[in-house]
Amino acid sequence: MTQVSMTVNGQAVSGDVEGRTLLSSFLREHLSLTGTHVGCDTAQCGACVVHVNGEAVKSCNMLALEADGADVGTIEGQAAEDGTLNVIQQAFQDHHGLQCGFCTPGMVMSAAALLKENPRPTEGEVRKYLEGNLCRCTGYHNIVKAIMAASGQDVSNIAAE
């Protein structure tokens, strides 16, 4: 067991982990931050995406020890203190960008990283960027629409709902 310390959603946390403990397990099991989901074991689905030092990272593909000292952001830290949804979360609700909700934390975290580097992405850019995020429910239509709306673009003309 090795001690690992990091900042998660602005709070300093630490815990004893095995060398093989994944960041996703550390968040889910040690910190009970179960909003980060695990949908695969080959780093393909993106349900586990979190921010590590501001970058979108698949937390199933990183050891907890590798995140030692890092600033980690998870879905639990996205809304305001009083619970108000952030712009991306609100757009997902407004445009029905989620159904079962399982892919949603990863989608929201990826979308935030995308909009940070590209504040007004085209449809094609959104679709390309989401290459690492699988959703089985929505057919992606409303996810892409929600992300474009969150970037301030008018989505009212996107193919009939």
Binding site: E29, T34, T74, Q93, E131, L134
Partner: protein, 786 residues
């Protein structure tokens, strides 16, 4: 003007708030203090005889609580099949045992042989590696046609052959069918494969079970679309437990698409082990495990023949299908190629003579069961592909050929056992032609050609039978369950309402849509109504969510229970208003006396129900009603879809340029949610047509066993979809006039995509009749250059 609340409003989903903030409660988020972890040792060969299993080394490994093998389960039942199909000779299907852990033989890669319960998952895994197996490998039975031959290796030694059943529906007299085909002016024949798929909800399956010696009670948390069905099957058929001592909870469920309907061995195992170990046990499927243990979908090999007269009227249809059951019968597997498939072969057409033949085969593969659409996509794919091929052979417009043969009079009795109550296929096709701008296709094709691409347009119609029922009929057809549903409407003293329902959302937004109905009926704000679901200790016995049934069946029960509540509330209001009950009207949450200005508010009546000081003596206090609803018939959603593709002739790459759906779902409660269901279904259908394939090698090893090899549709593989559901013929036999929308997209889209690809290829001057799904670039390239 779109409504802003109640029936017909696109109310935003209330469940989204927890899902968007990481506060969802999925089964894997549940941890019971002191729980142990399960790891299943699964067969890595497709077929073999177990000679010995030595667990002694594993039992002494650190952290191991107990190691289980098939022997531990000799005294309990196996996994049951919920539908007994009767074959063409009147005999019951062959129904082999399906043990929780393998006994005697392993029959597919992934078949569980042993299970280790340990303090940690890592310890359980390490110990499983120390189990010594001696398994004699047997030839794997994989090809369905070969499996049906006399003398084929048997998957189940105690069965007479590998044929689960040989079934037929429709015209039984072969001579009569032969005569129709002999007299036809034209016959179109098509051989096709409906590719095996893996449902792949993004949440893998999980089971957490606990047992209390003090009360002899069990709780099973599981990823299920139907917790009451799981409890009934597990208690009555597998473990022999009294239902009242077992609570099954399915909390937030991360997608299902059918694959979470079934009762799985892992659920029964965890429940059994919780008592045997006197400790809570948890199993979380990895994705790799899901590929070899979740029931797969589709996997039909068919020949379909369509007979037309000289005027291009459909006069006969015959299909012969081999349907893969896999190694064991999963819960509803037997019903999929029969009553959910054969019955749909009339489609939207008035073909007078139809014969459906199905052989269901055991093979050394993962069990196959319902996946979004379940039998109906397989039927639609055959029918709509052969109709398109006929149009090409005859040189007629595929839309005109379809329109000419549409059923136009309702109710309509098909030759394959269904009675369509309502529909308007021409009207829906009109909507499609407008929404998809089919008039502009030629110009779009010219544009694509100018860019060096081939462009194709594919049309597809579908009919669906949803809300399966009525129970007495399905019972006659072999169902071992009823197919009603139930709802309890509990009005609280202050007027808010909890509705306990048997349906269980796994993404469909019941928590939002169901309250829209109840609130609308009473005239109160939607936020006053909440839905309780997914917990057998809280809800009445209901059958869950699948087959696009939730609103049509459970929603009808909810309407009936709400009507009972309103009737009783009117009695109380009449007493308070000193008026006759017959004169009481309820509108906007106010009870009033017709023709007067006397009224009393909903909240005052509900409070009176619980504080019955001034109360009619003949009425019981309280305000809570339950209703069960058994539908009188299926509902019949239908639609017409158009897909436009571009094919790159250099590479064979297909891209979906446009996809338009025109559906008739009857009345609609929440259009936003309905659109989302159609989008998701289309996404899965495009996945089947272009990308997804579950492939086994000749030894029965699953080649596509992870997301590296099983191509899931990604955001970049699909376009924005255009969805029109303004064609509405309300269902005639349920109170809301709703038909169900959950599976339509997955049923209607694969043939549209393939028809479009073939249209594109044929526009390039080639004559290509057929190409199997998924239409990978290599298949397209081979077809073009073959």
């Amino acid at each position: 003007m779109p409504k802003d609340s109640g029936i017909g409003a696109s109310s935003k989903r209330r469940e989204d708030v927890r899902f968007l903030t990481g506060a969802g409660n999925y089964t894997d988020d549940i941890n019971v203090h002191g729980q142990a972890y399960v790891h299943f040792l699964r067969s890595d060969i497709a077929h073999g005889r177990i000679k010995s299993i030595d667990t002694s080394a594993a039992e002494t490994m650190p952290g191991v609580v107990k190691v289980f093998t098939g022997k531990d389960f000799e005294g309990v039942g196996g996994m049951p099949c919920g539908w007994e199909v009767t074959d063409r000779h009147g005999a019951p299907m062959q129904e082999p045992p399906h043990p929780i852990l393998a006994q005697g033989k392993v029959r597919h890669v992934g078949d569980p042989i042993a299970a280790v319960v340990a303090d940690s998952l890592e310890q359980a895994r390490d110990a499983a590696e120390a189990i010594e197996l001696d398994i004699e490998e047997l030839p794997a039975v994989l090809d369905m046609k070969a499996a049906a031959q006399e003398g084929a290796t048997l998957v189940h030694d105690d069965l007479k052959n590998n044929i689960c059943y040989d079934w037929h529906l429709g015209e039984a007299d072969n001579d009569k069918v032969n005569e129709v085909f002999a007299n036809a002016a034209h016959v179109t024949t098509l051989d096709l494969v409906n590719n095996r798929l893996v449902a792949n909800p993004m949440e893998p399956r999980v089971a957490v079970a606990e047992y209390s010696r003090g009360t002899d009670e069990y709780t099973l948390y599981t990823t299920s679309q139907n917790p009451h069905v799981i409890r009934l099957l597990m208690c009555a058929f597998v473990l022999g437990l009294p239902e009242h001592k077992v609570r099954v909870v399915a909390p937030d469920v991360g997608g299902g698409f059918g694959t979470k309907i079934f009762h799985y061995a892992e659920e029964a195992f965890c429940t059994f082990a919780a008592k045997a170990c006197n400790r809570a046990v948890k199993w979380t499927s990895s994705r790799s495990e899901a590929f070899i243990s979740d029931a797969h979908g589709r996997d039909h090999v068919s020949r379909i023949e369509l007979a037309l007269d000289a005027d291009n009227n459909f006069i006969g249809l015959r299909t012969d299908t081999y349907a893969n059951m896999g190694a064991y019968l999963s819960t509803f597997s037997s019903s999929v190629p029969t009553w959910l498939h054969g019955t749909l072969m009339a489609g939207n057409y008035k073909t007078p003579v139809i014969q459906v033949n199905v052989k269901a085969m055991f093979t050394n593969t993962v069990p196959v069961d319902a996946y979004r659409g379940a039998g109906r996509p397989e039927a639609t794919y055959q029918l709509e592909r052969v109709v398109d091929k006929a149009a090409r052979e005859l040189g007629v417009d595929p839309i005109a050929l379809r329109r000419q043969n549409f059923i136009t009079q309702f109710p309509y009795d098909t030759p394959v056992a269904l009675t369509y109550d309502t529909g308007n296929y021409d009207g829906t096709m009109d909507k499609l032609e407008a929404a998809a701008d089919l008039a502009g296709f030629a110009a779009r094709r010219a544009q694509s050609e100018a860019n060096g691409k081939l462009r194709g347009l594919g049309i597809n119609c579908y009919i669906e039978a949803c809300g399966i029922a009525p129970s007495n009929i399905v019972g006659m057809l072999g169902a071992r369950a009823g197919l009603y549903d139930a709802a309890t409407v509990r009005v609280n003293a202050t007027g808010s309402i909890s509705v306990m329902v048997g349906a269980h959302s796994h993404g469909q937004g019941h928590e939002t849509a169901f309250p829209q109905v109840v609130a609308d009926m009473i005239g109160i704000d939607e936020s006053m109504v909440e839905i309780v679901h997914g917990d057998t200790s809280k809800i009445p016995f209901g059958m869950g969510t699948y087959g696009s049934r939730s609103l049509a069946v459970c929603g009808s029960a909810m309407v009936k229970a709400t009507e009972k509540v309103i009737d009783k509330a009117k009695k109380i209001a009449a007493h308070l208003l000193e008026a006759s009950e017959a004169d009481i009207e309820l509108k906007d949450g106010q009870f009033s006396v017709a023709g007067t200005d006397k009224s009393v508010a909903w909240g005052d009546v509900t409070l009176t129900a619980y504080v019955p000081h001034n109360f009619p003596l003949e009425v019981e206090p309280g305000l809570e009603e339950t209703a069960f609803y058994d539908p009188a018939n299926f509902t019949f959603p239908s639609g017409a879809y158009a897909c436009e593709v571009e094919v790159d002739p250099e590479t064979g790459q297909v891209s979906i340029e446009a996809f338009t759906a025109a559906d008739d779902f009857g009345n609609i409660i929440n259009p936003m949610i309905v659109d989302g269901q159609v989008h998701g279904g289309i996404g899965q259908g495009i996945g089947q047509a272009l990308l997804e394939n579950c492939a086994y090698d000749e030894n029965g090893q699953l080649l596509s066993a992870s997301y590296m090899d099983y191509a899931m549709p990604r955001a970049d593989d699909v376009p924005f979809y255009s969805v029109d559901h303004s064609s509405q013929t309300p269902c005639t036999h349920n109170p809301l006039g709703v038909k169900g929308c959950g599976e339509a997209g997955a049923i209607g889209s694969p043939p549209a995509v393939i028809n479009a690809v073939l249209d594109a290829l044929n526009s390039g001057g080639k004559s290509i009749d057929h190409i199997d799904m998924p239409v990978s670039p290599s298949r397209v390239w081979a077809a073009m250059n073959g």
